[in-house]
């Protein structure tokens, strides 16, 4: 990647006379590089398509995802023997159209994946910067929190929370997010410990910047790479976690389709009809790949650091 950037920088010299004097602003340079970045475009494209499907599900889905047709249950996809083109991806164990369920499932799964990973990031990064930058008793307190979080089995905690608060999509998002911040914390805390010793932090202090200004404006931008990597991992983890919850009956309330729930339900019939697991699995895989490509791409086009 590093070499690619070097090459790209040579053609950054913009023809516009005003910008020739200053060079491109970071935003313009990133856009320009994004135009040559296939991975970023691919990831963004895939995510956009999935987003459109999720938003326009009522119009794009060929059938009602809740409509059961028990006489046509466990149909294989159309291209397999015994399939019908009426149900392109077949039907599930209750005879519901699988394609429609996957399209509707995109809504729930993307919401849960992105939402929970974001909430986790907010908690973990905030605590990580506080622990790393301020140190002292704050650091010890945060570390104690981490130890507690790691000591209690997270599934047990989630189950308790959902049971106490009640069962809804919002609750699932918050509960999963609130139990998946340890990675963020560990990584940002370590990076902050390293960064706070660098001279530019001392320079900001000497300019009269407050501690919060330093934490937000000087340290946080340098953590973006690490945060992005963990974010892409956590999206997948959150979606699968929701599947586990749904499997236990604590996740998304039952008739609502979500990919995780579909995988969980499909498991019972997996040996007769593997497509029930494979198809939502593929959808999940594509979503995670898209987020990964996008994350890597954004990092590549925004980072200029050729050294690290």
């Amino acid at each position: 990647m590093t070499l690619k950037e070097t090459v790209n920088q040579t053609d950054l010299a913009a023809p516009s006379p005003h910008q020739e004097a200053l060079g491109l602003t970071p935003g313009q340079a990133a856009l320009k590089r994004a135009r040559h970045h296939l991975g970023l475009q691919l990831g963004l494209g895939m995510l956009l398509v999935m987003g459109v499907f999720a938003l326009l599900a009522p119009w794009l889905a060929p059938h009602d995802p809740y409509l059961q047709n028990l006489s046509l249950r466990l149909l294989p996809p159309a291209w397999v023997d015994g399939g019908q083109w009426h149900y392109v991806l077949g039907t599930d164990h209750l005879g519901r159209d699988y394609l429609s369920r996957i399209i509707y499932g995109a809504r729930i799964s993307m919401m849960i994946g992105l939402g929970a990973a974001t909430i986790g990031a907010l908690i973990g990064v905030t605590l990580g910067i506080i622990a790393g930058y301020f140190g002292g008793w704050l650091d010890q307190a945060v570390n104690f929190l981490v130890t507690c979080q790691l000591a209690v089995p997270s599934l047990l905690l989630i189950m308790t929370l959902v049971f106490v608060i009640g069962q809804s999509i919002t609750v699932v998002i918050f509960v999963i997010g609130a139990t998946h911040w340890v990675f963020y914390l560990v990584v940002t805390r370590a990076a902050t410990l390293r960064i706070r010793e660098l001279d530019f932090v001392a320079a900001a202090g000497a300019m009269g910047a407050s501690k919060w200004q330093i934490a937000v404006k000087e340290i946080l931008p340098n953590l973006v790479n690490q945060i992005m990597v963990i974010f892409t991992l956590e999206v997948a983890v959150a979606i699968l976690n929701e599947a586990t919850l749904s499997f236990l009956g604590l996740g998304v309330p039952s008739p609502i389709p979500s990919w995780g729930l579909m995988i969980a339900e499909g498991k019972t019939a997996m040996f007769f009809q593997p497509w029930l697991v494979i198809l939502p699995g593929i959808a999940l895989f594509v979503l995670v790949i898209a987020i990964n490509l996008l994350g890597d791409g954004v990092r590549d086009v925004t980072v200029t650091n050729r050294r690290s």
Binding site: T6, A206, Q213
Partner: protein
């Protein structure tokens, strides 16, 4: 010195493939080295000097390609030798190597004894017991006391100087015929540098080794090398005896380098010469002389044709051929790299009103060893008093660990002293809000790679102090940034660049612009040039002096480089173990030092004097660990003048000829003539725990 040739390199080239083209790190280098001789390879970073040495032993990075007509070493041709032979018979056996970083070149998980013994037994044919005997003998020789017990120590138990001594012993285990020392003293303090160089030259004489000394420091090479090869952009541009090359340089680059060194010309010159631009990266097709773009004497021919290598017919019978590569050697005496207005420098103003006072500031950290270890106090500052006057350059000198950084942090208000006060512009620093303090005092740091936030563009970086202090609207701020960039000589096209797209010198300029944009009274320069190449150092020093005159600044200049101090300081303060041991007018302190430590520092500083050797070190041992402060005068364990009184009682500060000194023996005249070389100095090295 025997005249037998030991090493003969012909037409050595190293190419490193990059994505777009090949980087030609070394381009057709030819070198000769005789037995017992020291060859100094000098050059700035990126000139290919380390690559040349690594290519000798085929230790290049995996992708690099090496080509050579011949590398004759004794009777062998290293260019034709296979990897197995090279590893088994030459590397570490006939050619020893010392690296720059003593902290990282020893394996931290093995005892030094094991590492030393292994270098010998790994080649086979030596018993462990014999290797052990040899290790003890060599550790003794490199000046480590009680060598037998040292063998059981781990690298972290030793100080930097001691580790470098171990590295030297390790390189000597197999009695190599050639020792390659790659910047052996760059990471060490000046006093330790002198000790190590002295040790190297003594050992070399004793063992009859040849040595290749790679360094960027012309002072070091002038003292330690018999012959010099000056490298630029992968080629040797000038070579000859040290004396001849340094006293009458023929190539414009050699000349330029020398002009850049503070104190090489007259000490009175206000501006240093400087070489414009930076070392080019040698990718793609190279036409003409690689130096042409930076050369003030370049003629059209220089850009088109490769310059010929011209021997200088000095009629030297010993075959130490002197040659250089340049089209236009005759004009050597004409246009040079003069920094310009040497005469028009404004009168030096000194002794204005005091703008900043430090009174009896002390700073103690408590350090805990391990999780349950006892907390021990580390006194970083011990009742320091200092006074900075309007318009002056006050140099703060001392070795690493002496508390310089703590003092500057205290002055900037980033560290609150336990006792004592800092008064800035008539008011105690502690009472002033951070933003008000920021507008009076600004720092410039040593390492421009870590002092600029890699995620901010140069324009944003320089503007940041204005944003934090809410000065002016966005348009006004931008205008000020552009004006400032102009002042410090940054082209406006880097406005939207990130720091890593700039060269080291440009980054330091950006750091200077950021410090000056608030229009501060005092600028604290913390070793602002020690991370830069000599030619860039000169540019930055000139810039700092110009800016002082234009913007009416006061500098507190923290450095360990005494030639820089001599060049620009009005007053000098010398620090040792958290105390200021001597403070007074620059001339006074540098020419008639009162404190033995100042004297030792001055003796250890290596100015360019080809006729002089490396001075025998006068200072015993290493810088002590600040955790175990010696009793009495903290300097007494290393002091040649110390007696009973020094060991027991802390000296008070007294004034002698306008200089503040903290020493019982300050009025004792310095030992005349050559410094007393105390025969037992090696045995007193007991400083680090």
């Amino acid at each position: 010195m025997s005249t037998e040739s030991l090493l003969e390199i012909r037409d050595l080239s190293v190419t490193l493939p990059t994505d777009s083209s090949a980087l030609r790190a070394v381009r057709g280098v030819s070198l000769d080295l005789r037995r017992g001789e020291t060859l100094g390879i000098v050059g700035e970073s990126g000139s290919g000097k380390s690559m040349t040495a690594l290519a000798l032993m085929n230790l290049l990075p995996p992708a690099a390609r090496r080509q050579a007509a011949a590398i004759r070493f004794g009777d062998d041709d290293l260019a034709a030798m296979g990897e197995k032979d090279l590893a088994g018979r030459v590397r570490g056996r006939r050619i020893g190597m010392i690296f720059q970083e003593p902290m990282t070149s020893l394996n931290p998980v093995y005892t030094i004894g094991r590492q030393l013994i292994e270098t010998m037994t790994i080649h086979g044919g030596t018993s462990v017991a014999a290797a052990r005997r040899r290790a003890i003998e060599l550790l003794e020789k490199v000046g480590l006391p009680d060598p037998a017990s040292r063998l059981k120590q781990y690298p972290h138990e030793m100080s930097g100087g001691q580790r470098q001594r171990v590295m030297i012993a390790m390189a000597l285990m197999n009695e190599p015929e050639l020792l390659i020392a790659d910047e052996p003293t760059t990471a060490l303090d000046v006093t330790i540098q002198a000790q190590i160089l002295h040790l190297l030259s003594e050992l070399q004489r004793e063992l009859g080794m040849a040595m290749i000394l790679i360094t960027h420091d012309l002072g070091v090479v002038s003292r330690a090398a018999d012959r010099i090869a000056v490298m630029y952009a992968g080629d040797i541009v000038e070579t000859g005896t040290t004396e001849a090359v340094l006293s009458a340089p023929r190539h414009p680059y050699t000349q330029g380098l020398l002009e850049c060194v503070p104190g090489y010309r007259e000490a009175s010159a206000r501006r240093l010469g400087s070489i414009p631009g930076i070392v080019p990266s040698m990718t793609g097709e190279i036409r003409g002389c690689a130096f042409a773009a930076r050369c003030p004497r370049a003629v059209p021919r220089c850009h088109q044709e490769d310059p010929p290598r011209r021997p200088v017919a000095a009629g030297q019978s010993d075959g130490a051929a002197r040659s250089f590569v340049c089209h236009d050697p005759e004009e050597t005496r004409g246009r040079g790299f003069a920094g310009g207005d040497t005469a028009t420098g404004p009168a030096i103003r000194r002794g204005g009103d005091s703008v900043l006072r430090v009174d009896d500031a002390s700073c103690t950290f408590s350090v805990r060893r391990g999780l349950f270890g006892k907390r021990k106090p580390l006194r970083a500052l011990d009742r320091v008093s200092l006074d900075i006057r309007k318009g002056e350059v006050l140099a703060l000198v001392g070795e690493s660990g002496c508390g310089k950084t703590t003092l500057t942090r205290t002055i900037m208000g980033l560290q609150t002293p336990d006792a004592g006060t800092v008064t800035l512009a008539g008011r105690p620093l502690g009472e002033q809000p951070a933003r008000q303090r920021a507008r009076l005092i600004q720092p410039i740091f040593q390492d421009p790679y870590s002092s600029l936030n890699p995620r901010q563009t140069i324009g944003d970086l320089i503007r940041r102090p204005l944003v934090i202090n809410r000065l002016g609207d966005a348009r006004e701020q931008r205008a000020r940034v552009h004006r400032m960039m102009d002042y410090v000589g940054l082209p406006s096209r880097v406005f939207n660049s990130f720091p890593d797209q700039l060269s080291g010198g440009q980054r330091q300029r950006a750091a200077i612009a950021r410090a000056l944009i608030l229009d501060p009274e005092i600028v604290i320069c913390d070793e602002p040039t020690s991370a830069l190449d000599v030619s860039v150092q000169a540019q930055i020093l000139n810039l700092l002096l110009d800016l002082r005159d234009e913007l009416d600044l006061t500098y507190l200049f923290v450095t360990h480089d005494l030639s820089v101090v001599r060049h620009l300081a009005d007053r000098v303060a010398v620090m040792y173990l958290g105390e200021i041991v001597e403070c007074g007018p620059g001339e006074q302190v540098l020419n008639r030092p009162k404190h033995p430590y100042t004297r030792a520092l001055l003796d250890s500083a290596l100015s360019i004097e080809p006729s002089l050797g490396v001075p025998a070190p006068d200072l015993a041992g290493d810088f002590p660990n600040p955790m175990n402060r010696p009793s009495g005068c903290p300097f007494h364990p290393r002091c040649p003048l110390a007696d009973q009184r020094c060991r027991q009682r802390v000296p008070a500060t007294e004034t002698l000829d306008g200089t503040l000194v903290k020493c019982w023996k300050a009025d004792t005249p310095p030992p005349s003539g050559p410094l007393d070389v105390r025969p037992d100095h090696n045995n007193k090295e007991d400083a680090a725990p």
